[in-house]
């Protein structure tokens, strides 16, 4: 499992891949940060919220996460290296988890860059650290879930580009579930509305960003991760059976 983890990290960090992604993330964060400060001048408030920045960033992250995960399995299939992994004395479960941990590490690496902004702010003002930590935990949980989802989608196809595009569509849909379920049309059917809401990840992140760590939200993210990872495992096994 460690070999898979190491190899995946090599493929991210020995190439410009991880750095390009991280700098894109930094660029987005800088943009948000700068506009937040710019807004201070026009309003008479003298505070802004990092958690709001994170909240807005979710939208952009929809595009970044599938790029991390798109290669996980689609690329192995394309290169013909899936045979190597499957004929080695490694279980499919270990391969999936090794890859998942590597993707999470890249995500953490990207998040690490964002710590720079609160530090700069702290040097010139005051940061509410407790709320920020909550937002980080929420952001991590949210990302970890979408990485699992992205890997599942990568395991369903042979082309990394297809995996990325489908991933973006699915994650986009999830981001807008709560807006959609809040519309007047859906409100007519309360059961449908609550059913849809159960799948929405964004409102759960909102609690984290407000400084709440709720057990139900943690359970939501954890169970979603487990479901997606298990599904990835099943999808790989199923493909082996149906391949032809």
């Amino acid at each position: 499992m460690f070999s898979i983890f190491k190899k995946e990290l090599q493929s991210f960090f020995y190439t410009p891949f991880a750095y390009a992604l991280a700098s894109l993330f930094m660029l987005l964060f800088t943009y948000m940060f700068a506009t937040s400060i710019a807004k201070l001048e026009t309003s008479n408030r003298l505070m802004f919220s990092f958690t709001e920045i994170f909240y807005d960033l979710l939208f952009f992250f929809i595009f970044l996460i599938p790029i991390i995960t798109m290669r996980s399995f689609a690329d192995e299939r394309k290169l013909g290296t899936e045979v190597l992994l499957m004929s080695s004395p490694l279980s499919v479960g270990k391969i999936v988890i090794g890859k998942y941990l590597a993707n999470i590490t890249v995500f953490l690496f990207m998040m690490l860059g964002s710590v720079f902004f609160p530090i700069v702010t702290e040097m010139n003002g005051k940061v509410v650290v407790s709320q920020l930590i909550c937002a980080y935990i929420g952001f991590f949980a949210w990302g970890a879930m979408f990485i699992a989802l992205g890997m599942l989608i990568s395991s369903l196809t042979e082309s990394p580009i297809t995996a990325a595009i489908i991933g973006e569509i699915v994650m986009f849909a999830d981001l807008f579930i709560d807006d959609f379920s809040g519309t007047a049309f859906i409100s007519q059917y309360p059961k449908l509305q609550s059913g849809l809401n159960a799948f929405a990840a964004q409102p759960r992140f909102a609690y984290f960003s407000q400084g709440f760590i709720r057990l139900s939200d943690l359970v939501f993210f954890a169970s979603a991760i487990i479901v997606f990872i298990a599904w990835t495992y099943i999808s790989i096994e199923k493909r082996r059976w149906n391949r032809g």
């Binding site: 899936e82 045979v83 190597l84 080695s88 391949r243």
Partner: protein, 341 residues
């Protein structure tokens, strides 16, 4: 010892491998021979534990590959048809990764990598990115990977494809050396290679085993029964009945329409070929049938192979054979599938 029992694989409704069984003994090189699309790679993928079988059983030194895959796979080194290499890795990085997933102990990894680099003679490219290597080198890097950790059972799917003649000789030598303390199964469609390297061959076509034997036995079996090819002009049914009646004719294998009223007969003979041929020709001429061409096959592995692969399913009677001729030249493959349908 490796045993393969009743191995069958369906892709949807399509039967790719049909109920094949064989064993490979210790210190043996088994050749796996067949035309493209015969089911070679599918079989190898199943033996290596990559593809699950629809039914059947593969036992690697006593461990069932489906029931105890981790234990069975520890003894396998597999080089698939397309070398499974990562283009973005350097050769040593790649081999070190492979050693990792093959669970070669950390302390032995360096020596192992050195050993396989030397065996495949690829030390000179060890620091290069795999994407920049030529096809032959990629193939050898893939081969090196299969030998990491010194597994006792080596599966090689067309290992010499893409190599230059010099490298082919070296790789063949290496395979022969492996025999000392390994079991090797290797597939190929190059006959000379198989006859040079292998102890026994399995000939497979369309998912069925056509023959399992040593090369010497295959050649001798077929040299006792010669094939005679005779082309005649005139009535095909008359010619066919004369050929069938002649003494020494074991079996009328096929009749092809060559156009212009010319028919090509393939006949299997038994006994003194020259004598039978003379008698046959005399009989045909007496019946006003013109002979356009006559020749016999010299038995060699190539003919054995072609014969085994192309041999149509046994015909019930002469009438069936005659019915089969379509006005234009027919492809044996096509007629085969028609029958199966």
């Amino acid at each position: 010892m490796i045993t393969i029992e009743n191995l069958t694989k369906y892709y949807g409704n399509n039967k790719a491998v049909n109920n094949i069984s064989f064993t490979i003994n210790d210190n043996e090189i088994l050749g796996f021979l067949g035309p493209n699309g015969a089911g070679k790679s599918t079989t190898m993928n199943m033996i290596a534990g990559y593809l699950p079988m629809t039914s059947g059983k593969v036992t690697i030194f006593g461990s069932d590959i489906s029931k105890d895959p981790i234990k069975a796979k520890k003894n396998i080194g597999y080089l698939p048809e397309i070398p499974p290499v990562y283009p973005d890795m350097k050769v040593t990085e790649y081999l070190s990764f492979c050693a990792g997933i093959k669970q070669v102990p950390l302390s032995k990894r360096k020596d192992e990598i050195k050993r396989v680099l030397a065996l495949l003679k690829i030390e000179d490219v060890k620091g290069k990115l795999i994407r920049n290597l030529s096809k032959g080198y990629k193939q050898r890097v893939g081969f090196a990977q299969a030998l990491l950790g010194d597994p006792k059972f080596i599966i090689l799917d067309e290992p010499t494809v893409g190599l230059d003649p010099n490298q082919v000789i070296e790789v063949r030598k290496l395979i022969k050396e492996l025999k000392k303390d390994h079991i090797v199964i290797f597939s190929s469609h190059i006959l000379s290679e198989v006859s040079e390297v292998c102890d026994r061959v399995v000939i497979i076509n369309k998912g069925d085993i056509r023959a399992i034997d040593t090369i010497e036995n295959l050649e001798s079996t077929f040299s006792s029964s010669l094939s005679l090819h005779i082309k005649v002009k005139g009535s095909k049914s008359k010619a066919a009945s004369i050929i069938e009646m002649t003494d020494g004719v074991k079996e009328l294998l096929s009749i092809d329409n060559e156009g212009n009223d010319i028919y090509a007969f393939t006949v299997q003979l038994e006994g003194d070929a020259e004598e039978i041929q003379d008698k046959l020709m005399a009989d045909l001429l007496q019946n006003q049938i013109r002979i356009v061409e006559v020749y016999t096959d010299k038995p060699n592995l190539e003919n054995v192979f072609i014969d085994l692969i192309n041999r149509p399913v046994q015909k019930e009677s002469l009438a069936d054979l005659l019915d089969e001729i379509v006005p234009e030249t027919t492809d044996t493959d096509e007629t085969d599938t028609k029958e199966e349908d």
